[in-house]
Symmetry: C2
Subunit: 219 residues, 2 copies
Amino acid sequence: MILSDESRTDVSKQNSKEIPDIVIGRLPVYLRTLRLLADDGRDVTSSQELGEHLGISSAQIRKDLSHFGEFGKQGTGYNITFLCNQLQKILNVDRVWSVVLVGAGSLGNAIANYAGFESRGFRIVAIFDEDKAKIGRPMGSVHVEDFANLAQRIQETNAQIAVIAVPTSAAQRVADQLVEAGLTSILCYAPITLTVPNHVRVEYIDPVIHFQHMTYYLG
Amino acid sequence: MILSDESRTDVSKQNSKEIPDIVIGRLPVYLRTLRLLADDGRDVTSSQELGEHLGISSAQIRKDLSHFGEFGKQGTGYNITFLCNQLQKILNVDRVWSVVLVGAGSLGNAIANYAGFESRGFRIVAIFDEDKAKIGRPMGSVHVEDFANLAQRIQETNAQIAVIAVPTSAAQRVADQLVEAGLTSILCYAPITLTVPNHVRVEYIDPVIHFQHMTYYLG
DNA sequence: CCTTGTGAATATGTTCACAGCA
DNA sequence: TGCTGTGAACATATTCACAAGG
């Protein structure tokens, strides 16, 4: 689905082996689940066990993984540590990515203070806001910086991903600046669909979208 | 279940056919966009304009809407206010739903203080935490309550939706309590797939899932 | 017995293309 | 003209079912 979670634009090459985006989207969920199993001390799992836990079919898991290689053993299943490593390589999270955060309100604060990013491949390296009262204050492991320094600091930190956590009214303007600074991956918490060039990928988080999806079924 | 298949074909009410969940999932995005257009003073739009703005085809928008009725006028397009009202009715957000929030950390605080829920159909009516240091403190428009009172307060507030904003280690236990208290709709911010009965719907928000989806394409 | 990996068969989703109407 | 609504065509995604191997 292009809407609601993601707006994408791949001008990708015409490779005969293009892997469906919907498959890529499930890999992080597999990885997350496998790492929880590993934390529980488990060594091996099967597509069936994984599928039951995730509420999807075992065939789907096997088919998804088969796009990338043969990671399992017949009769046994998958070695959890090995499969985690493989998925991390596939998703390019066998390294840590630098992320800039725009917006130092309460949402920005929650994101900045979240402890779970680093272990999964991401680090907030800078936080920006326009509000002079916020600039200079500590937040998470850094200090809030002036939004005017955005482009320069993106260069310096080599960040490839941005998070937009500003009010709706400012989100498009922030996105424009991020694009101008060269970023091609944006996670937007503002409840608005951004207009960006085709080479820029935007994903969205809007809790109300989920609520409204649920209320349809609540009658 | 014996009846399910036949009863659906027999009962030729307005819902003669089950509408695909993926279609339901797009409606909130349409609604969100239409309301922004309305805020901009626009009266009328077309499937083409909407599609260009959202990055999807006009045919998809028309097809999605056609599941519910004929809302447009040939040659003209859609009256924005009218279509908003229709979508709100379809999604059951022509009223305000009570939501309980579990977890009064920085994420819970951000959710509690977010001003954008009410206008879109949702109100946080109670916040719960186990931490004695947090219980009683004001947060958003309410005070943090003892998690032990969860079931009773869900009854009293008539809440139908819960948000889980607790650490991963506590999320499953919280979900179990919510289900026991009778809730059937949960929005989970903890990075874990919850195990719940079939009649309970869970949606997830995990920014890292989005990051990892993006890094696949960042190579 | 278990399991995986996979081609074939289904099922689902999207787009095309056009009739019909303002 | 310009747009909607929709069956038909097409594209994509999921599941089935089974050979092969521990």
